[in-house]
Amino acid sequence: MSATADDQLTIYQRSRAGRRAFVAPALDVPERPLHELLPKELRRRSPARLPEVSEPEIVRHYNRLSKRNFDLDTGFYPLGSCTMKHNPKLHERVAALPGHAKLHPLQDPRRAQGALELMWRLQDALSEIAGLPHVSLQPSAGSHGELAGVLLTRAFHEDRGERRTKVLTPDSAHGTNPATVTMAGYDVVKVGTDERGNVDLEDLRAKATDDVACLMLTNPSTLGLFEPGIEQIARIVHDIGATLYYDGANLNAIMGICRPGDMGFDIVHFNLHKSFTQPHGGGGPGAGPIAVSERIEPFLPRPQVVRREPSGNGSNPSLRYDLDYDRPKSIGRLRGFQGNYGVFVRSYAYIRSLGAAGLRDVSEVAVLNANYLLARLRAEGVLEYLPAAYERSCMHEFVLSGAPMKRELQIRTLDLAKRLLDHGVHPPTVYFPLIVDEAVLIEPTETETKETLDRFAETLAAILREAREDPEIARGAPYTTPVRRLDEAAAARSPIVRETL
């Protein structure tokens, strides 16, 4: 079971001239000389040097590579802000049904009624969960949903003849928020966080000027805290005529408990790959549907999935669900076709499996698990070195600061994270949110058992004990992983981003 040196070869290094996996179907039409069909000057001069390998080699290569990954089905993965919950296997099965997986996106809607109905029902469910009446499934991920949201904001203001220039984001915001703001042509204005971890209302009021188009907020925030002043915040934002945007990355804390729409948000994005269990795939695919209020609706991307009410004169019943392109105020498309349908199938299956009670249970247990883990860490003495950034009960995740640990044990948050790898646990998110020094953001999710949380707490305590004895151990970690610490700085200085052939 030990790794062999051979494990490290790339697929290109395994290539040998003449090997192959692919066998082409026979040419069954009269063959015409290539130069007649494609003049030489349009043809490539040198071949693409793809690897030459047999099928067993490809299978073994990628199987071995897979073993160099840590994954959710192997162990605990409390990566804060990422909602690494169990990915039910049923979802892969239903998404693979040929009626879903082999459906061409340009199929006539009459011949894709199942797909359109599924999308419509998913819109409906997301609308209910968000507490907002309209949904577009189009965006491909959270940050794409953000972009949609800010572009909607722009269209909304422009439609009213207003040109606003700024978007507010808390200093605790995820990086995609300010990046999105710039991409959508606005200037970012940062709003501070108060000593309890909430939006600093004073600062917000000061910055809430009438050239502000929008406030983007995550609630619970990236600190894992619910904004108790959310109603005031909404009032301040709406009073200046701006929109209130909900970054839904943390929706897992509140499903069925409270709703962004009821809090006053105009636009919400969902991360179906977080709260709704689309597997993360090592960095996608995901989907970032958005839900919006009535006033934003006219601007939604096109096409929109609609249900046509059967008209009195018995209009075509085969077109009950349709794609509506006739949206004159729409901001337009954000991508090709109708969105990441394969993801919709999975998330829809999830919602159907759990129903209302199940979704609420998800959030309750997510919050219970986080608070329990926090309590357990306290009981283990871990918080002495890694105090909670804010002393209050958290939602589905919480932030510790490794600053005292760094000071007193001479190990950094990074070292702690790396040492966890040797214990078969994926580290939490580290150094985010930026406003907490040596931050450790821990999100256990609802699908973990109490035993797993207990073991994690004990492991952290053990690492701290070990560091008290000998900090060098953590500083040199990890030791048992396929590679040890990698020199990222050197890699970025002179980047090698492809194999030299």
Binding site: T10, V29, V53, K102, G114, G282, A375, E446, T449
Partner: protein, 455 residues
């Protein structure tokens, strides 16, 4: 309902005791009472696994998939064969479930696969740098525009009318945000006609083959762009790149494209992946993740996410893109697919498709009532023009289990009876012959119907 959660009643009691509260409710104290929902969500009750399966199967059964009809639909996504080893590998939890590889020591599998993917895209496009994926083809076009804007600060994109309508629209949507004007360059005899490029033009954007299936002279277009000091951006279909002059050879600055045909399913339009390749000069402007080589403490070769200072989580409002989650698993399928094809296989596949496409075009253009829309070389798709209403002809074909292609009218009012026909390696000569027969019958029937109506 608790199949995915493990907290038993005993667990809950014990955990609440450890927390020091006496109900789960108490943990939500920060949520103002008046904001609590106070009722159950209005969603149907949860179902058992078998019931969910049955429901999803029933929905699937109401879609006509490419297994249920003889389909010549393409126009950006193609019914190409996905080899079984891709499912087998990508369904492994080790690839399916991890997050973006933030901890490289336990993510070498995913990172190395990205590096291998980047190499393959670089080889295909003839450009030295590829990122690890963007969302899909059309948004990749828009992302390329954003880079162009930042690299030369000019204010206008010239986009060929041969670029996929979804790409053009996506570009417009996003350009409106980042403040760029978009103008279209017309098609003439099937290919892009550029004229009057001035120094406001940030980038010229073309597609190869273009939406009507025509092979463009990309080198000439790129030269024209460069002559005006603009960047040349080309959206390409990856399989034809096995035969066609590469973007790199043509002097293109940014090559993007839709990766679906590389081992990904149709999935009614997604998830697939977009690829993004560029020159060494633009490497620090590229959007999204890039895997790079690194060495570990023991001097062992490994891989990391590199050039992260371009990215939103570091650079925030100054990032080159807001993209975070991209399409890693789909790109993995892409590199497995390309390794499966291999150096010779990809050429054989492209040639097979080319030969069948030419056969199909010749076969169909010879039918009564059918004209080729242009005479340019084609490679996997071609456009026809019919004498009779295309929608009605298509409807007649569908009745016989043949989906003859995509009517152009929706996107090209100048071709009201245009039909775009795609051929993949899964459509045999016999299939093409059947299309010819059914299409010809449908046109004849339609002509009769028209005559009948007139008479």
């Amino acid at each position: 309902m608790s199949r995915y959660t493990a907290a038993t009643d005993d667990d809950r009691t014990e955990m609440l005791r450890a927390i020091g509260v006496d109900s789960i409710e108490a943990l939500f104290e920060d949520i103002p009472q008046q904001l609590r929902l106070g009722r159950a969500l209005a969603l149907d009750a949860g179902l058992s696994e078998q019931e969910v399966y049955a429901e999803l199967r029933e929905l699937a059964a109401r879609n006509v998939s490419t297994e249920d009809e003889l389909s010549f639909l393409g126009a950006g996504m193609y019914d190409s064969y996905v080899p079984a080893l891709i499912d087998s590998i990508t369904s492994r939890s080790e690839f399916l479930t991890p997050y973006t590889p933030y901890q490289p020591e336990v993510s070498q599998g995913g990172l190395q696969a990205m590096f291998e993917y980047q190499t393959a895209i670089s080889e295909l496009t003839g450009l030295p740098v590829s990122n690890a994926s963007v969302y899909e083809g059309p948004s990749a076009v828009a992302a390329a525009g954003y880079i162009a804007k930042h690299s030369n600060g000019r204010r206008r994109f010239v986009v060929s009318r041969g670029v996929h309508p979804h790409s053009r629209e996506t570009l417009r949507t996003l350009a409106r945000g980042y403040g760029m004007e978009v103008v279209e360059a017309p098609l003439n005899a099937g290919t892009t006609e550029l004229s009057g490029l001035d120094h406001d033009v940030s980038a010229v954007i073309v597609q190869q083959p273009n939406f009507l299936g025509a092979v463009e002279d990309v080198a000439a277009l790129a030269d024209a762009a460069h002559a005006a000091g603009a960047l040349a951006i080309c959206a390409c279909d990856p399989i034809p790149l096995a035969l066609l002059a590469t973007p790199g050879e043509c002097g293109v600055d940014i090559a993007v494209g839709e990766g679906q045909t590389l081992g990904n399913r149709l999935d009614f339009g997604g998830p697939s992946f977009g690829f993004f390749a560029t020159t060494q000069e633009l490497i620090r402007r590229i959007p999204g993740r890039i895997a790079g080589e690194a060495v570990d403490l023991d001097g062992k070769r490994g891989f990391v996410l590199t050039l992260q200072t371009r990215e939103q989580h570091i650079r925030r409002e100054k990032a080159t893109s807001n993209i975070c989650t991209a399409q890693a698993l789909n790109a993995l399928a892409g590199v497995i697919y390309l390794s499966w094809l291999g150096r010779h296989g990809i050429v054989e596949l492209a040639e097979l498709i080319l030969q069948r496409t030419v056969y199909a075009r010749d076969r169909l253009r010879a039918l009564d009532g059918v004209r080729a829309l242009h005479q340019r070389p084609v490679i996997r798709e071609f456009a026809l023009e019919l004498d009779v209403p295309v929608d009605r002809v298509v409807a007649r074909c569908l009745e016989q289990g043949v989906n003859p292609g995509y009517p152009l009218a929706h996107d090209y009012e100048e071709h009201p009876e245009g039909l775009l026909v795609a051929v993949t390696e899964q459509r045999s000569r016999a299939d093409i012959d059947r299309l010819a027969e059914v299409l010809s019958g449908a046109i004849a029937a339609e002509k009769r119907a028209v005559r009948g109506a007139v008479a």
